[in-house]
Symmetry: D2
Subunit: 144 residues, 4 copies
Amino acid sequence: MNGFEDKLWLRVRYSETDQMGTFYNSRVLEWFECARSEIMRKLGIPYVEMEARGFFLPLIEAHVAYQGRARYDDLLELTTRVAFEGRARLRCEVTIVQAESRRPVASGHTIHAFTTHEGRPQRPPAWFIGLVEGKLTAPPPLRA
Amino acid sequence: MNGFEDKLWLRVRYSETDQMGTFYNSRVLEWFECARSEIMRKLGIPYVEMEARGFFLPLIEAHVAYQGRARYDDLLELTTRVAFEGRARLRCEVTIVQAESRRPVASGHTIHAFTTHEGRPQRPPAWFIGLVEGKLTAPPPLRA
Amino acid sequence: MNGFEDKLWLRVRYSETDQMGTFYNSRVLEWFECARSEIMRKLGIPYVEMEARGFFLPLIEAHVAYQGRARYDDLLELTTRVAFEGRARLRCEVTIVQAESRRPVASGHTIHAFTTHEGRPQRPPAWFIGLVEGKLTAPPPLRA
Amino acid sequence: MNGFEDKLWLRVRYSETDQMGTFYNSRVLEWFECARSEIMRKLGIPYVEMEARGFFLPLIEAHVAYQGRARYDDLLELTTRVAFEGRARLRCEVTIVQAESRRPVASGHTIHAFTTHEGRPQRPPAWFIGLVEGKLTAPPPLRA
């Protein structure tokens, strides 16, 4: 998978644990979201700016493999990779490990459509393709 | 406190527990929200209709006293009471007990402003006051 | 897929929405959990009893396809099916539709291991296999 | 209020927003928890170590005043202050502002008991009092 890669570190919050003593399973999708937020910022287009420009990236698919435990306050390392899947879908792969022991915690991916605010499909703009493929470092200025 | 009273039952979800083996503290505010949703429906004006009519009820204050444990799958009983606090604020009191043992779990209140979608304060409409005070059972029809 | 089927209805909570105006993506995994809780109860073995008997069912995989919107207070219908995948894994498939319009919202599955409290793999007990395959309606009594 | 003060910065996650376009109200209690985690670390006793030493700090009260909006990806600054309330309760005050504009977002406090793992009240240890009052910088070593 080509594309753009980024890393992020975060600590497991108490609110993210459950009575089994590890993180509750749905939190992984929230951490994937944090990973996407940061990789978009690194790409040069924070997701808030995407939305301001009229591009929304709703999930159409999510997949998670649970590999190990993570307890409250554990420091996790997330490695994120984003690339196109076909011409109109974005694929985001995330791998989560314990930052110190390197033990795997979870990995998976999300697939995103490009839509308008109302949810209608639209093509990704050329500048966004350029950012993901490393041919651009910033989007064109927003006209006022 | 005058006003309107309602009851609701819900079970503690696994996602609402934490590693201490009881519910995580912020869930109580989510349960309070469920309680408000149901009491609004019983009042005759589901909260979605409030928003459709241009009235928003953002929280301006929340208070919770934590009184006892509740584990995954425990059945909780919520008693809700809604009343005006002054002329432009709504106060919602909720008491949560274990449905079977009647042991207290948490109690508290939220205070809500009346605002427009943009967050500007506005007066509660006369029909809403009528519903809360038990003088009306339904809002006037929405003009198309 | 053979196995046992169940239905559950729930309303989208305000806390489950996000700024796009629909449910936030990770909530689907929480709803899947609610669906599993109910199907276990219908099977004759509430999940709390599974844990009390020393059987834990941690997720090893989750997959979600997002198909449509669901707004605050929408009534959702969840259809759940549970069956064995091989001899030591449980597969739980859930389909979520808008209860009134029947429009699809999300569908997917989770795969679960059988472990001890400490997370060591163990075989599912014969009585559990009997419940899932419809050959039993209750587990054997728990010895004190 | 005497005691110990700390600062923490965090960004609003997409999962923390709701359909009103601002953060969902219960998230404030989760952010308060993050603030407590960090101030405990700065005090010299990460909360995981407190639990490892047999001291639990369950909430007995929470209060939040909601003062302003915070949108997805906004950078928030949390100022935390921890002090004793009487001899056996800890009070944690948190103020949240927009990091750039300094606009208030929310403020409030939580009050915590000292309990055993089973939830029985116990006195805070002398070393913990020393840490909060700034007379110690680290707890005594844990005996193996």
